[in-house]
């Protein structure tokens, strides 16, 4: 039985029915990891011993009737910026190469409560800064559809691990598209919830006001189930919100009749690859055929999202990453002369170039004399972008958009031109600036056979609507497994 080819919910059912077990599922996952991960490098750390021990316990608890949830016994991968007690958490950085947290992130605690087996930690762009998963200190992740291509980023390891069936599902984090864009590149489904839905406690912060943890899975139903498991109002995270319970099973209905869909005209113009455009419009058409009402509109302000995002995210990052100084934990340079030399060398040697670039950018925009011109202006722009979305959601239930201008670029292509790489985030970052939920579902492939996903954006706390639209679209297609998954 190919347990890893099942969706998380299918596998969960089989485990609960006794057809298979949490231990068998975890063993198969590890056997696939051993076979494939030297090639794709989805994982930074695997915890086979811990996972199998946990799976045995889970099996016992399922048999005793203690664990009855849909994800009990299902093996999952966790992005390596989520703290896991006793398992090193690197953020893809030399800075945290040997860092073992003393506590577990709340989202992971919630998964563990649901009986999920944590297999290990997935590779990522260093400190989640990047769009390709190439900036990891531990080497780049390869796209399971084509090793010459990147999986996207920064949750590239999580998305590639799901696509290559090295886990049943994964957790990622999304600050500017880091779940939605690699989900598109890897042909999987990834959801970024409304800001505040999932506790950020234990997520190593990049841009605190933008970061949100979310699921990456094979399909929409899995995403909904994982979202239900990880959402919580956490008293340890002041920005987490108390939401009325989401009726996610009701959302998973093939019914978009009368659902109002808007496509921002601004998203379909210059810069968008023709094949990707065709995929997006094709998916929109499919939904229209199912009874949705489709309309193009002007979202406006689109061109300001990138500068606003890179100012706010870098500013927050410059402060969030200040704690990595070689004093308390993490990398410390071998030779230094006094405190300042230790700070400088530890940080120069511990961080990679993309992280340093953003720290410098962020420090600059916050420094006195520049704060008003850059940071404050970015905050105002952010408020305007929120308002533009607010206006759009008066007319539409769901906004359709690409997740990236192209399918996955080749390895090594993007980093040479960071500005171009930043521009590639144009369709995803506005969603983070406005705190909205967004989901990417596969909707086709480009001329090279690389997957393309469509992004569906909802108003705050309207996850049900985007899940319904995504689920309906999903029913019009069959899930395409990548070549690596079939190995």
């Amino acid at each position: 039985m190919e347990l890893m080819s099942l969706t998380a919910l299918e596998l969960g059912r089989k485990i609960r029915s006794g057809e298979t077990s949490a231990v068998e599922a975890a063993k198969e996952a590890f056997s696939r990891i051993r076979r494939l991960d030297d090639t794709f490098h989805c994982y930074v750390t695997v915890d086979e011993e811990g996972a199998l021990r946990k799976a045995e316990e889970t099996d016992r608890r399922i048999r005793s009737g203690e664990l009855t949830g849909p994800l009990a016994g299902v093996p999952a991968a966790i992005k390596d910026n989520l703290c896991t007690k006793g398992i090193r958490t690197t953020c893809g950085s030399r800075m945290l190469e040997h860092f073992v947290p003393t506590y577990t992130a709340e989202a992971v605690v919630n998964l563990e409560k649901a009986g999920v087996t944590v297999l290990g930690k997935t590779n990522m762009d260093e400190f989640a800064m990047g769009s390709t998963s190439e900036t990891s200190y531990f080497g780049p992740v390869k796209n399971p559809w084509n090793q010459e291509h990147v999986p996207g980023g920064s949750s590239g390891g999580s998305c590639a691990a799901v696509a290559a069936e090295e886990c049943s599902f994964a957790l990622g984090s999304d600050t500017g598209g880091s779940i939605r864009q690699p989900s598109s590149f890897c042909g999987v489904t990834g959801l970024k919830p409304t800001y505040g839905t999932v506790s950020r406690y234990g997520l190593i912060a990049y841009g605190s006001s933008l970061d949100q943890i979310g699921p990456v899975a094979k399909d929409v139903s899995d995403c909904a189930a994982v979202l239900a498991a990880i959402s919580s109002r956490d008293p340890k995270d002041s920005t987490s919100v108390k939401r009325p319970p989401m009726d996610l099973s009701a959302a998973l209905k093939e019914d978009v009749k009368g659902l109002r869909l808007g496509i921002p005209r601004d998203y379909l113009g210059e810069g968008l690859d023709d094949d990707v455009r065709a995929c997006i419009l094709g998916a929109a058409k499919a939904l229209e055929e199912q009874g949705a009402v489709l309309e193009e509109f002007d979202l406006s302000l689109v061109e300001y999202a990138i500068p606003a995002y890179y100012i706010i995210a870098s500013a927050e990052a410059s402060s969030n990453l200040a704690r990595f100084d070689g004093v308390k934990y993490g990398y410390r340079t071998k030779e230094y002369d006094g405190l300042h030399s230790m700070y400088k060398r530890s940080r120069s040697e511990g961080f990679g170039p993309e992280v340093k670039r953003r720290i410098m950018l962020g420090s600059f925009v916050l420094s006195s004399g520049y704060y008003d011109a850059y940071y404050l202006k970015a905050l105002k722009t952010r408020a305007l972008i929120r308002r533009a979305f607010g206006r759009a959601f008066e007319r539409y239930d769901v906004i359709l958009a690409p997740a990236a201008p192209t399918a996955a670029p080749r390895l090594g292509e993007s980093l040479q031109d960071p500005i171009r790489m930043y521009l590639g985030d144009i369709y995803t970052i506005a969603v983070n600036l406005a705190g909205l939920p967004g989901i990417t579902v596969p909707c086709g492939a480009d001329r090279q056979g690389l997957p393309v996903g469509i992004q569906m954006i909802g108003d705050c706390f309207q996850e049900e609507k985007i899940l319904r639209a995504a689920y309906t679209l999903e029913q019009t297609r069959t899930y395409v497994r990548c070549p690596a998954a079939q190995e």
Partner: protein, 476 residues
């Protein structure tokens, strides 16, 4: 020469709040634990940890604001102040810059020329840093994060003070208010109150402010006074020599009675303040603010007015008693029970103050109950015990808060009013001391005192001295 100049002083006062737990996590604020035992991922700046605001901090800060006539900002926010230093685990301090909780308040101080109003620019909430311990033997530094995250408020005055006396008066008044509110014990020596002095001088009558310096490391009112005088003289001397005052931060060395420059404006840090994204704005609803207002205790100024009306005690006593909330509370409670405010006042002004001084204790360390003091006053008033026994019993109350009724009973300290027993003793004393009797008869008044003493001694102090006196005179 000094008369040609006037001094302009503003203060930044940090006060450690008396909360049980830290400002952004549940760790204890207790002083003196083994290093790094009152810590958690939040107050040690572990990756992924997030701050959660302690509401008690908001209540204390707002209470101090209300008591100093501030406007309370009902939607205040926190900001990050970024700077690298190992005692600061995140390398930023969570503080308030853009929207502090209190603004535009004042404190009225008494000066020789009358009441002077000192403006309060703002009060903001922030977290304290850890403590660096330099290990000379190992040639390394260690960090203790127990203090990291202890809540502070910073009270920033307007530059409205012009002398050391005014500064001390302001600080004493501020300290008293905060102690009355129970928001802090405000001990300078222990660092729960810290004052930084901003000082500049200018030609008398000039309207322009001179260049100021900031003085740190002031651990007592005396040090503050000395530092102010020293810095004023230093600045005037510079100006008289035709030189400039440099804007800088200086560290006061109270042993040398001199200061030295710590850092100048050129290497002043750029703190890159920005709104703290991990905390939501603090919304203080009208109801919450009203609850805080309703919970405000009566402050000293109001108490003094009321005491004048309600209690027949001298102004001097009222001043002393209200100088500490603990004393005022004891006074009011004991007076309410025994209805003898003057007697209560006497015990507080006399024995209590004497014992506090003798034992180098602060009034807030008093632990006896007003009931026991009231009971002691009743026992004395009813003549159950005499004055010297009362003092002995009070010491026990002061130290162990004993129940005086029980204590007097258990130790057999009641005044003996048994005429027969007393008469017998008097007869015996007279018989044993014929010389003193003769002396008294020949007009030596002193001799009576001796005989009274002998009788009291024989009675083990439990006789009523007046009765002894009377009886001796009758017999001789």
């Amino acid at each position: 020469m000094n008369r040609q100049y006037e001094t302009v002083i503003g203060l930044e006062v940090h006060v450690e709040l008396a909360t049980e737990t830290k400002i952004f996590c549940g760790c204890s604020t207790r002083f003196g634990g083994a290093p790094n035992t009152h810590t958690c991922p939040v107050c040690t700046g572990m990756p992924g940890a997030l701050p959660v605001l302690n509401r008690q901090v908001v209540e204390y800060a707002a209470a101090v604001g209300l008591a100093t006539g501030c406007t309370i900002n009902q939607c205040c926010r926190f900001d990050r102040k970024n700077y690298f230093y190992p005692d600061n685990p995140q390398n930023y301090q969570i503080s308030q810059l853009y929207e502090p909780i209190c603004r535009d308040g004042h404190i009225d101080i008494d000066t020789p020329s009358g009441i002077k109003r000192i403006g309060i620019h703002e009060i903001h909430m922030e977290e304290d840093a850890g403590k660096l311990i330099h290990d000379e033997w190992e040639d390394c530094s260690l960090v203790d994060f127990n203090r990291s995250g202890v809540p502070l408020i910073e009270i920033v005055s307007e530059p409205d003070m012009s002398s050391a006396e005014e500064v001390i008066a302001y600080l004493e008044k501020l300290r008293l208010i905060i102690r009355y509110l129970g928001a802090s014990d405000c001990r300078l020596q222990e660092g729960s109150m810290r004052a930084d002095v901003n000082l500049s001088v200018r030609k008398a009558g000039s309207r322009e402010l001179g260049t100021r310096t900031e003085m740190k490391n002031l651990n007592s009112f005396k040090a503050i006074a000395r530092a102010i005088e020293g810095e004023r003289d230093r600045q005037i001397e510079l100006l008289e020599m035709g030189r400039q005052v440099v804007q800088e931060t200086r560290r006061w060395d109270d042993n040398k009675e001199a200061s030295h420059a710590m850092r100048s404006k050129e290497d002043a840090r750029d703190y890159r303040y920005f709104p703290e994204p991990d905390l939501v704005p603090v919304l203080i609803s009208d109801e919450w603010l009203e609850r805080i207002r309703a919970g405000q205790p009566e402050l000293r100024t109001q108490k003094l007015i009321r005491y004048k009306k309600e209690f027949d005690i001298p102004d001097y006593d009222a001043q002393i008693i209200t100088s500490e909330k603990k004393l005022a509370d004891l006074f009011e409670a004991a007076s309410a029970i025994c209805k003898k405010p003057k007697k209560v006042s006497n015990w507080l002004m006399g024995e209590t103050m004497r014992l506090l001084k003798e034992r180098e204790m602060e009034a807030d360390e008093l632990s006896f109950s007003p009931e026991h003091l009231a009971e002691l006053i009743r026992l004395t008033g009813e003549g159950v015990i005499n004055g010297s026994v009362a003092k002995e019993v009070f010491l026990k109350i002061f130290l162990e808060d004993v129940d005086p009724v029980k204590y007097v009973e258990d130790h057999g300290l009641k005044t003996v009013n048994d005429e027969g027993a007393l008469q017998e003793t008097v007869e015996k004393v007279l018989a044993d001391n014929p010389q003193s009797v003769a002396d008294y008869r020949s007009g030596k008044e002193k001799a009576l005192g001796f005989l009274v003493g002998q009788t009291m001694k024989a009675m083990k102090g439990k006789a009523d001295p007046q009765a002894v006196n009377r009886m001796l005179k009758e017999r001789i």
